[in-house]
């Protein structure tokens, strides 16, 4: 009897043990701009991407249970902070992902560090997230200002665009993009002949464009985003900037912006992205699934949304390897030690400073006549290999990279 009891206890223990080893519960929060200017870049499309990633992963790993939350940070650092604090403390969220808007991303990154959770940036651009302000709980997935600057800036200087005039959005992101691009232009033998800093959300750019025109610079670099970029390019087409021989460099242009401009206006624009829906069959198939999930047949996913999919996928892999999501620092450590491999970004790595590196693409917007179907936006002009696409580890001034 005694033997039987102990056997039962032993087997119960065993069962318990295996159950514990297998069952992993994870809670993920997608925080994005759900209702304002960046809502098409990340927003509900990012939540849809996260859902797809979770569905794919739990299908292959039925022992993993994932809960998904989403919230709107309204582009306000204080709103973002209070939501994330509540997520971490009350809802027991393990991972926060996306956060377009560098201001909010800096705040979230700091909270994730202090509470030892995980933060994957997809939507925010500032390269300082893996530079001076890096930490061991943050991974920057999709792109950053250095990558944009280096991709577009270098390519244009090399093809003869050696004098630049900047239209710069007058806040942290615009300054960072202007700084990184100027550095890339000058490092490749180009020259910055002038710049004008315009307020965020400027309606009319014609005055600034006349200044850019008068500067005789070959390239007009748009260190701004969203509506500002669209209004700059629209006015540029009208004032004959491109016909006059000058060229725009869109330093942060998403597929959704090109759609808003229309190809007739946007044609010839050079830009850099790390993911494009029409690049290969895998991306196209994924886009179909995303459109079904998002219930938006005419929309096309952006690199930010693809980054959310890939980020969630890799995170879950690391959590399974770690057998728990509780220790954010350990999970990020694991994310860095196992190589990344997902259908959308292919094989890559995450560096010590938290920077995910992968190939990026130099694209050019097609002429209307060359576009065969909706969403057929770009010619692929060059592929920049992962090793060159991002800021070298040693130049970032990130303390994690030094140890």
């Amino acid at each position: 009897m005694k033997r039987l009891m102990s056997l039962a206890a032993f087997s119960a223990m065993l069962m318990c043990g295996t159950a514990q080893a297998q069952q992993v519960t994870v809670k993920i929060g997608v925080m994005s701009d759900m209702s304002s200017l960046y809502a098409d870049i990340g927003g509900p499309g990012s939540t849809a991407a996260a859902k797809l990633a979770i569905a794919d992963f739990t299908k292959a790993n039925p022992n993993v249970k994932v809960d998904l939350l989403s919230a709107d940070h309204q582009n306000k650092a204080d709103v973002g902070s209070s939501v994330v604090n509540q997520w971490f403390d009350v809802e027991k969220v393990d991972l926060v992902i996306d956060v377009p808007n560098s201001g909010v991303a800096f705040a979230v990154s700091e909270i994730a560090r202090s509470k030892n959770k995980t933060f994957i940036v997809s939507g925010a651009a500032a390269s300082d997230l893996t530079g001076g302000k890096c930490n061991a709980n943050t991974v920057h997935w999709t792109y950053d200002t250095w990558m944009l600057a280096n991709g577009t800036g270098k390519a244009l200087v090399k093809t003869g665009g050696d004098t630049w005039f900047f239209l710069t959005a007058d806040y942290a992101f615009g300054h960072a993009l202007d700084r990184d691009t100027s550095a890339a232009v000058e490092a490749n033998g180009g020259k910055v002949v002038g710049r004008v800093r315009h307020p965020l959300n400027t309606n009319d750019f014609s005055s600034f464009l006349l200044q850019a025109q008068a500067s005789k610079a070959k390239i007009i670099g748009l260190a701004n985003a969203g509506g500002d970029t669209i209004n700059s390019i629209k006015a540029g087409a009208e004032f004959g900037i491109v016909k006059g021989g000058q060229k725009f460099a869109g330093l942060l242009v998403f597929a959704s912006d090109v759609n808003a401009l229309g190809l007739n206006t946007a044609q010839g624009l050079t830009l850099t992205e790390s993911w494009y829906w029409d690049l290969n069959d895998t991306n196209r198939a994924w886009t179909k699934r995303w459109q079904a999930e998002r219930a938006a047949a005419g929309k096309f996913p952006t690199m930010v949304q693809a980054g959310v999919y890939a980020g969630v996928t890799h995170y879950l892999k690391a959590v399974v390897a770690e057998k728990s999501a509780a220790d954010g620092k350990a999970v990020v450590e694991r994310m860095k030690s196992i190589p990344t491999d997902d259908p959308l970004f292919g094989k890559g790595t995450i560096r010590a400073d938290g920077r995910k590196v992968h190939d990026v693409f130099l694209l050019e917007v097609k002429k209307p006549a060359e576009s065969k179907y909706p969403g057929d936006f770009y010619h692929l002009r060059a592929t920049i290999p992962a090793a060159e696409a991002f800021r070298p580890l040693k130049d970032g001034n990130c303390p994690l990279a030094k140890s």
Binding site: G227, E238, D257
Partner: protein, 303 residues
């Protein structure tokens, strides 16, 4: 050729005198939009005593209706210029009948809050339906290209904006200040009871006036569609500036709204050259000064 500079402590930027002409012209073009929008606000405030905060949303609806007419009915820009104001104006009329007519006797604040709420609802609905990044709207073929004026390249469309806006502005001023219909309107604002005693249907006149003010906003929206980003938040960004223009001009003054609209466009344009970082702020600085010196605005009547 000489150069114009601003003092060293303000940054000391210089531009050649030729460039100044072009910047003045650009300012005038932007002023056309301010004038058109502040005119609508002034008409509505002057006649109905309603501070119409949904004016920005109605401007945005004008641009979207133009887009929808083109996409679904194949109606081009010129047709949109006529039909979009009528459609959006009709929506305005419905809004006046449903909500605003109950508020005339109350404090201005109620109308302001109601129209502000309506604006948020409209913008939210458009964002849900069309997303936030905007829609493309092609410029009509006849207005593409431009003229070389010697000192600048003037796109034909911008020239058209000035002409159309001036025509509409002065026409509106003429109707309200110089015709019999206008005199009825003005009388109805002063003393509605007496005017209705003469057999004039005052409530209907007020409703149509609101509809007209809204149609002006929609007209500006169609004008903006080919050159600015057609997005749900396009009106919210502009409306704050336009309110400042109305306050500077004097609430309810028709001519005041037109003159200050153009004038502030020019001042803002010059700021974009000499102190670009200040270009979004300069109008509010002027507003603060005007409110200190002339609280009723430059053209306002003291009440």
């Amino acid at each position: 050729m000489f150069e114009l500079c601003i003092p060293e402590f303000l940054g000391g930027r210089c531009i050649p005198s030729m460039a100044l002409f072009s910047q003045l012209l650009i300012g005038l073009i932007n002023g056309s939009f301010y004038a058109l929008l502040s005119l609508g606000l002034a008409v509505i405030f002057g006649m109905l005593n309603i501070i119409n905060f949904s004016h920005g949303a109605q401007y945005m609806m004008g641009a979207f209706v133009a887009y929808l007419l083109l996409q679904h009915l194949g109606l081009n820009y010129w047709m949109a210029l006529i039909f979009a104001p009528i459609i959006v104006g009709a929506i305005g009329v419905a809004m006046e009948r449903l909500f605003l007519q109950w508020l005339y006797k109350l404090d201005h604040l109620y109308g302001l809050l109601l129209t502000f709420g309506v604006a948020l609802i409209i913008e939210g609905m458009f964002r849900n339906q069309f997303g936030s990044s905007g829609l493309p709207y092609q410029m009509p073929e006849a207005l593409t290209g431009g003229q070389n004026l010697g000192f600048m390249f003037l796109p034909n469309y911008r020239a058209w904006v000035i002409v159309a806006s001036l025509t509409v502005c002065l026409g509106t001023w003429f109707i309200i200040e110089r015709t019999k219909l206008g005199s009825y309107l003005r009388a109805a604002t002063e003393n509605p009871a007496l005017v209705s005693a003469f057999g004039v249907n005052v409530p209907r006149m007020i409703t149509l006036t609101y509809g007209f003010g809204v149609a002006l906003a929609a007209f500006a929206g169609v004008m903006a569609a080919p050159i600015y980003n057609v997005s749900p938040q396009m009106g919210a960004e502009l409306i704050i500036v336009v309110f400042a223009v109305v306050v500077i001009g004097g609430m309810g003054s028709i001519m005041g709204a037109i003159v200050t609209g153009f004038g502030l466009g020019v001042i803002e344009g010059l700021t974009k050259v000499f102190l670009p970082e200040w270009s979004n702020t300069v109008i509010f600085i002027i507003m603060a000064i005007v409110l200190l010196v002339r609280p009723a605005g430059l053209f306002g009547r003291r009440t």
